[in-house]
Symmetry: C2
Subunit: 363 residues, 2 copies
Amino acid sequence: MTDVQVRAERLLMGPGPVNVYPVALETASRPMMGHLDPLFLDILDETNDRLRTVFGTSNVLTFPISGTGSAGMQAAFVNWVAPGDVVVVGVNGVFGDRMCDVAERLGAEVVRVDHEWGQPVDPERVLGAHPSPDIIAVVHAETSTGVRSDIAPIGAGKGDALLLVDCVTSIGGIPVEADDWGIDIAYAGTQKCLGAAPGLAPFTASDRALDRMLDRPSSWYLDLNLIATYVRGDGSGRAYHHTAPINEIRALHAVLGAMLEEGLENVQARHRACGAALVDGLTGLGFTPYAAEGHRLPHLATAYLPDGFDDASNRRTLLDDYDIEVGGGLGDAAGKIWRVSTMGHSARMTNVNRLLAALGNLI
Amino acid sequence: MTDVQVRAERLLMGPGPVNVYPVALETASRPMMGHLDPLFLDILDETNDRLRTVFGTSNVLTFPISGTGSAGMQAAFVNWVAPGDVVVVGVNGVFGDRMCDVAERLGAEVVRVDHEWGQPVDPERVLGAHPSPDIIAVVHAETSTGVRSDIAPIGAGKGDALLLVDCVTSIGGIPVEADDWGIDIAYAGTQKCLGAAPGLAPFTASDRALDRMLDRPSSWYLDLNLIATYVRGDGSGRAYHHTAPINEIRALHAVLGAMLEEGLENVQARHRACGAALVDGLTGLGFTPYAAEGHRLPHLATAYLPDGFDDASNRRTLLDDYDIEVGGGLGDAAGKIWRVSTMGHSARMTNVNRLLAALGNLI
């Protein structure tokens, strides 16, 4: 390995990726297996079962898409949006905005319901935006602002529409109850609260969604009709579609196993406790909360910088002199806020202490 | 780790994935880094330089797509095919057939030039199929048949068309000279001759191709305009598009480094020598070559089974009793041929001996 590969021993407390659980690293160093090996298919099946638990669903089609969280977003729209379909999007940050872009490119009539950044999506406004939308799409946990939106009221009022939800930064860290909340299509990421490497998008779709799926979406790679023949098998076995990212799936299997062994509620309590200590510390150092009270993600703090405290140079010093990564703001919030997380394996009180001590030196 | 994760110690000699170089496993077990970490961006830049070497190109836009080889195929078409564009595809196996499907879904007028499976693509037939195609697409090394097609004559005669080539199973194993052969768009996979895990699609596009790229392709995830702002940076630095599969890229960086240290010609000589010994051994055991003479891939043997030798049960015995994976045939060749490779870290004479000894016991 070259020097540059060896040097980095980062503590990752930005909006993701975060430090991965040791079991993910161990698993990633195991010898390769084939994507049609019965032993691997057992691992895939068990991974999908574990994903059902963290998604709060019994959906048959639940599996990791072969791409990052954004590939999950792409798959969620490309398999359901036909030209002219009405897609209502609740926008309160970068990822709601991205949903509009993804849907528009597929020919959707996008009805954008904009909210002030830092505020949650208002279910009533979203539900009232169009009389008969085909899809209503919202982000559960906005990574760009640290805000949690309420999904259940949208599910309760969705009527004939499909409810499509981005769970990238919520899954594993706070409760996600896809079935109870009426979610039809959801995708997530592996590099946030699941504490694995980026590269997969956990995905789930309800039977109601499967009934309305396009027969031949414009993307061959993300065509769920074809992928299902591998993930679930058809009558005659598991058919090859594309070669699955085997190592990433094995690592996901391992971290989900570790999380369920720790207990999902215990994992979330750890995320909350570390996040609360972090926010206390940041406030003491002069940071001011950015996200709306009552809707702050417990594991992703967003805060205005103290007066006179420079964004870029201080993030660079944290990285270079302390090996700690935190995130800056995006869009209008760039230069004004930081995004600091306690997710996955990074959600340890010692890490919070280490970051606050370093910050104390910088301020 | 659960039992099922620990048990598998496979020798992978199918059409891919194959065993990965030890340095890939070591790298995959390193602590995570951020996708905007300057140290990681250095690794990405160096990875792209190394990919230029194995692609035989100086193309500025050369990088790994965040998905498997099939995502590379999707990216190659979705960024260039507008509805009504004429796409000539030379089809001589599964992956040429897949190209037609991918292009049709994007609204292309596909001109399909079918060849008998096991035969190479005929450059004259492909070049004569349409007077003014927008794109001519062929597969360099057909994984389904073990056949190598000649690319240079197509590049020499392509006229105003863009030449799009699938290099999934050729890259690293046999010479690929994108610039000399007139290739405009090419993609590859990591799990064949590069000897890394599946999950990335090395990609390259010529300046000529970049000039004709769509401004707003239907896929947001694979939009090369946006991805380039991260991979190459724009005037103001490297912009976030999606979170790169960091660990996979670091592993690719490491295997490419190891290959270039061994010497690309030495790697290919090793692939050839192991492949030749394998074919000798298979022939001695009663297998008969399937691919056309003069166009057989040196590192992926395809052969008809000996009389009375069952496909599925013998592959299962090899896997269960010897921990060795080989591949069966696809499409019309299913049940009739095997596909056996010497690729990546699997390309070792001891592995060839181990497989032939096991096969000797089965026949």
